[in-house]
Symmetry: C2
Subunit: 349 residues, 2 copies
């Protein structure tokens, strides 16, 4: 339990950089007055931006770097220099214990690589996973892995389920989150052997892990919100997440075209603007901002590159919640319970 | 080239059965007067439905069976009895050469299993794939595999590309379809080794196969329609397809809720009804109906279970096009070209 979390901010990351990240830090500071900040980036830029926020300035320490990783840089090419970038230094601050969490809207691949290399995976976790909240017809759902791993076996899927449930307990405030595994059918014999074995293990161990295992979930059920945590290999999780984005864009584009097709529909459009705004806000990535890299020795939150002030502030809020509720400890406890459960003879379960 | 294709119809399949499938066959007969039909199902039901369509009756032969496979039956449980069902007999008619193609709106799993077992895969194809048309911002795109195979290697992906391009040439009328592989990033080093190897092979061989290989495609680009054929392993293809469906439902539900939230928005809704109808028709599965099971010794088309008369007629139209344009021969020719190309030393390519 950390009473006064220190958040390391990659000030330069994201499409807008300092104007967004600094203003967002001030929003987060007002929401959570217990926070203080380590700001990494170009000192002149940061000082200029902080001048508008004297109270934020008072609880911030600035560390200068002029190394930047662009959103379009390939992680493989920039990894060496990236350690001295604002992303790399934010992660290093968590490693050194100077900060409790790092938040960046920068290059996802670079952040993942630096975080994995710098913070290492937790004991009991073979591979970290990228998790995020998705909008549904009910409340939000957690989905993971969203692309940190292309190939996953049954043990990875089980660990993702444990981490996802711990994340859902904190960010969705649920006691016994419902957990499902993404698959191409709901029958028990669908999918790969890894899917079946992970499903069997979770069915047996779920109750002792404070989760309710609900079986396989198909892609068309993600948006229904029937389960709170959707566990997936990183490949199909990434495909599903991006397909949701693409489909939402397709539909909005089709609506836009259709609304422009006649005077009558233009009037309808004007009358419906509030409705379309509501729709956009429900699907707004900023409202769901803050993908989390779970399974590391430290909290690392990835904001959308295009996040606005509210969006980046939400990402800082997610980092703060994970620190205050000690996600690492929760995952470690559940993993230990799972191993204990597995060691029992099946008859005793 | 088949001048007068015979289409085997599983009359009993689908949510509505005979009233839809028979009326749809009559729509198809009017569109393509060269067609004749083999109708499989309960004779009394079929005769009653055919009474309304004397011209269809004149070009149809009815074969009785009272074995039915329900949409919810698990293929593993019904395979033995399913051979005598209306699905099984329709596939058997293709195998025996009595029909040129089979069309069913019945249980997908049962149809796939019966077709694979009865018709066997074509020479040069290791695994058949399920392909379908998806709506995009431009014209429709072909996507495959949509769930026939949970795990696929590079050879499977290459064969899917060849089959998908042949399908796109016929149903989209394109000379050199643009082909992409579904992946979690566009960089060449993304995805599994199988993705990279399939990509390398298609990059080299694409032009000689009458396709334009465009590289990796991410999930959010599916709806843009930038490529004509999206090649995927069956697991993530199925996830993507179903996620598109689920996201479209989610958005329509959110729109419905938002439009009901005030009198003003109800009026807006009434003014926008035409627009929403247009949107629904662009996304209507019936307009894109007719998933095809490619790579078998015979044409098998799967209609949506909930297809209406137009939808099922479209599925029959797809079957007719594939027979008339001899999809099997086109795939065989392209595969032979690909093997020839591969046999050349790399310097000569």
């Amino acid at each position: 339990m950390v009473a006064r979390p220190v958040i390391a901010i990659d000030v330069m990351g994201g499409d807008e950089g300092a104007p967004v990240t600094i203003a967002a830090a001030d929003v987060a500071r007002r929401r959570y007055p217990e926070l203080s900040f380590l700001m990494f980036g170009d000192r002149a830029t940061i000082d200029a931006a902080l001048a508008d926020f004297p109270q934020l300035k008072a609880c911030s320490t600035v560390e200068h770097t002029d190394v930047e990783v662009k959103g379009t840089d390939k992680p493989s090419q920039v990894l060496r220099s990236a350690r001295r970038s604002s992303i790399g230094l934010a992660v290093a601050a968590v490693k050194a214990g100077d900060a409790d969490a790092a938040v960046s809207a920068g290059n996802t691949g670079a952040l993942m690589a630096l975080a994995k290399l710098g913070l290492k995976t937790m004991p009991g976790i073979d591979r970290p996973a990228l998790a995020a909240l998705l909008p549904t017809m009910k409340t939000d759902s957690v989905m993971l892995d969203l692309g940190a791993n292309s190939e996953c076996d049954d043990e990875n899927l089980i660990q993702f389920a444990v981490m996802g449930a711990a994340f859902a307990r904190i960010v969705l405030g649920l006691d016994h989150p419902k957990v499902g595994i993404l698959n191409i059918g709901e029958e028990e014999l669908k999918g790969t052997d890894d899917h079946k074995e992970a499903a069997d293990a979770l069915r047996l161990a779920g109750p002792s892990l404070g989760m309710q295992y609900e079986g396989f979930v198909e892609g068309d059920k993600i948006g229904r919100g029937d389960v709170d945590v959707i566990v997936s290999d990183g490949f199909s999780g990434n495909v599903a997440l991006k397909t949701m984005e693409g489909t939402a864009k397709l539909i909005v584009e089709l609506l836009r075209r259709a609304f422009r097709s006649s005077l009558f529909s233009i009037i309808g459009f004007i009358m419906s603007r509030r409705v379309l705004r509501q729709l956009r806000s429900h699907l707004d990535p900023n409202a769901h901002n803050g993908a989390v890299f779970l399974g590391l020795n430290g909290v690392v939150v990835k904001s959308h590159g295009s996040a606005n002030v509210d969006g980046f502030a939400n990402a800082i809020g997610v980092a703060r919640d994970l620190v205050v509720d000690d996600i690492g400890n929760r995952i470690a406890t559940d993993l230990a319970r799972f191993e204990q459960h597995r060691a029992l003879p099946e008859a005793a379960q």
